[in-house]
Chain length 243, copies 2
C-alpha cells in the first residue's frame, strides 16, 4: 500500500451522521402530526404506507406526505383541508431536521485531520441541494477543504459507478491510491472505491447496510472513526501537528 | 346592514400574523447565513438584489437563493461549493419560519368567535401548501370551522377577483351579506369583498398596505382585532356565550 496519502474522503449518510435513524424519527414525527391534524388512520398503518410511498417514489421525491394522504383514500376528519394535514407532516419533518447532529466520532475525526496536510472532503450520492443542506444542518459547512465536496448530482454519475471516484481524484489532483475513502456500505462504498483504486475504510454497524457483504474486503474496517488516526499514523506515516 | 351575520372570514398575511415583517427578518437571516457560508458580497447589496429576485420571480418561486448567487456572479470564497451557500440561506430562512407567531389580538379575536354561533374561516391568496404551512406554524390549524378554509390556488381564482368571495359564500351555504371579511389591503381585500357583497372590516396599520387607499370605504375600520367583538355585538346583535 502506498504510504503517500494525500486526501481523505467521507461518505455522508450513516457515515458522518445517523441518517437511517434520523429518517425513521422524522417520519414518525410527521405521521404523528398528520394524525393530530386530522388524518383518520391508525399510526402503524400510516407509517407502513409511508415507507411504501418512499420506496415506490424514491426518497428524493418531493411530495411523500401528499401522496400518503391520497393513498390512504383522503380519510380526513370531517371538513379538514387536506393541505393542512400535509403541511402538518411537512412541518414536523422539517422541525426534526433542526435536530440533525453528526456522529461525535465523525467530528473528532475531522478535527484530527485538520492537524495533517491531508485534504478532507466528501463524496456522496444524492441531490446537490439536499446533501448540501445536510452538511449545513450538521454544522460541517466549514469542515472540508476547498473544492473537496463531490455530490453525484453535480457529476452526472453516482456510486457504485467507479467513475465518480475517478472524477473526484482528478479534481483533487491526486492518484486514486493517494485517496482514502470511508463509507458504511460494503458494496456502494467499498467495492466501488476499491475498483476505482482508492484505499478503503468500512465503518461498520451504523446504518441499514450493517449486515451487507461486499465482493472486496475493505483495506481497513473500523467500528469508530476514532480509529482513523491510528490507521493514518501506523499504515501511512501521516504526521499530526499538535501545535 | 343585515343583522343576520353567519360567518367571519379572515385574510391571512398581515391580518393574522406580521407577514411583511417576518419575510424581511427571514431574508436578512438567510443573507447573513449565505455571507457566512462563503458568499463574497456586501450584506446590503445582497439584500437589495434578493428583493429584486423576489420581485422579478415572484415570492412563490422556489429558488430565490440559488438565483441570487447566480445573479451575484457566483462570487464565492475560493473552493466553496455553491450549493452550500444556497443551503445555508435556505436553512436560515426555514429556521426563521419556526418563529412564526400570530398577532396576539388575532388569537384573542378567534377565541372570542368560538363563543358564538358564527362560522370562522380564512380566505387567502397563495399556494395551497404554503398557506396551509403558515396556519400550521401559527398553530391555527384547529382554529377554523370545518370546510371554511379558502385558498386561491384551490379555487382557480384569486383576490381581488370578487368571484373568490362568491365561491366561499356558496360553499359556506351563506349569502354574501351574511359574511364579514377582515383584511389589511384596502384594494384586494376591502374593495373586492365589498363588490362581492360582503361586510368588510379593514385592519389598519400592520403590513405593506398601511398607506393604500381603496375605491370603497370599509364598513368598519379597526386598528386592533380586539375591536371585532364590539362591532359584532353592537352592529349585528351577535351573542357571546361566556359559559
Amino acid at each position: 500500500m502506498s504510504r503517500n496519502l494525500k486526501a481523505v474522503l467521507f461518505d455522508v449518510d450513516d457515515t458522518l451522521f445517523p441518517s437511517s435513524e434520523f429518517a425513521e424519527m422524522a417520519r414518525q414525527s410527521a405521521v404523528r402530526a398528520m394524525v393530530d391534524a386530522g388524518l383518520e388512520v391508525e399510526f402503524d398503518l400510516a407509517m407502513e404506507e409511508l415507507l411504501d410511498v418512499v420506496a415506490e417514489f424514491t426518497s428524493n421525491y418531493g411530495n411523500h406526505f401528499d401522496q400518503l394522504v391520497v393513498r390512504l383514500g383522503d380519510n380526513l376528519r370531517d371538513g379538514v383541508h387536506r393541505a393542512l394535514v400535509v403541511a402538518a407532516g411537512v412541518r414536523a419533518y422539517h422541525d426534526t431536521k433542526a435536530e440533525l447532529r453528526p456522529f461525535p466520532d465523525a467530528v473528532r475525526c475531522i478535527d484530527e485531520l485538520r492537524k495533517t496536510n491531508l485534504q478532507r472532503g466528501i463524496l456522496t450520492n444524492g441531490l446537490t441541494i439536499k446533501q448540501a443542506e445536510k452538511l449545513i444542518r450538521l454544522d460541517l459547512q466549514h469542515a472540508f477543504s476547498p473544492g473537496a465536496i463531490f455530490i453525484s448530482e453535480d457529476l452526472g454519475v453516482a456510486k457504485p459507478h467507479q467513475r465518480i471516484f475517478g472524477i473526484a481524484c482528478k479534481r483533487l489532483g491526486r492518484q486514486p491510491r493517494e485517496v482514502l475513502y470511508i463509507g458504511d456500505n460494503p458494496v456502494k462504498d467499498i467495492d466501488a472505491a476499491h475498483e476505482a483504486g482508492l484505499v478503503t475504510v468500512l465503518r461498520r454497524g451504523t446504518g441499514k447496510h450493517a449486515q451487507a457483504v461486499g465482493a472486496h474486503a475493505p483495506d481497513f474496517e473500523v467500528s469508530s472513526l476514532d480509529e482513523i488516526r491510528g490507521i493514518l499514523e501506523r499504515e501511512f506515516g501521516v504526521e499530526f501537528d499538535e501545535g
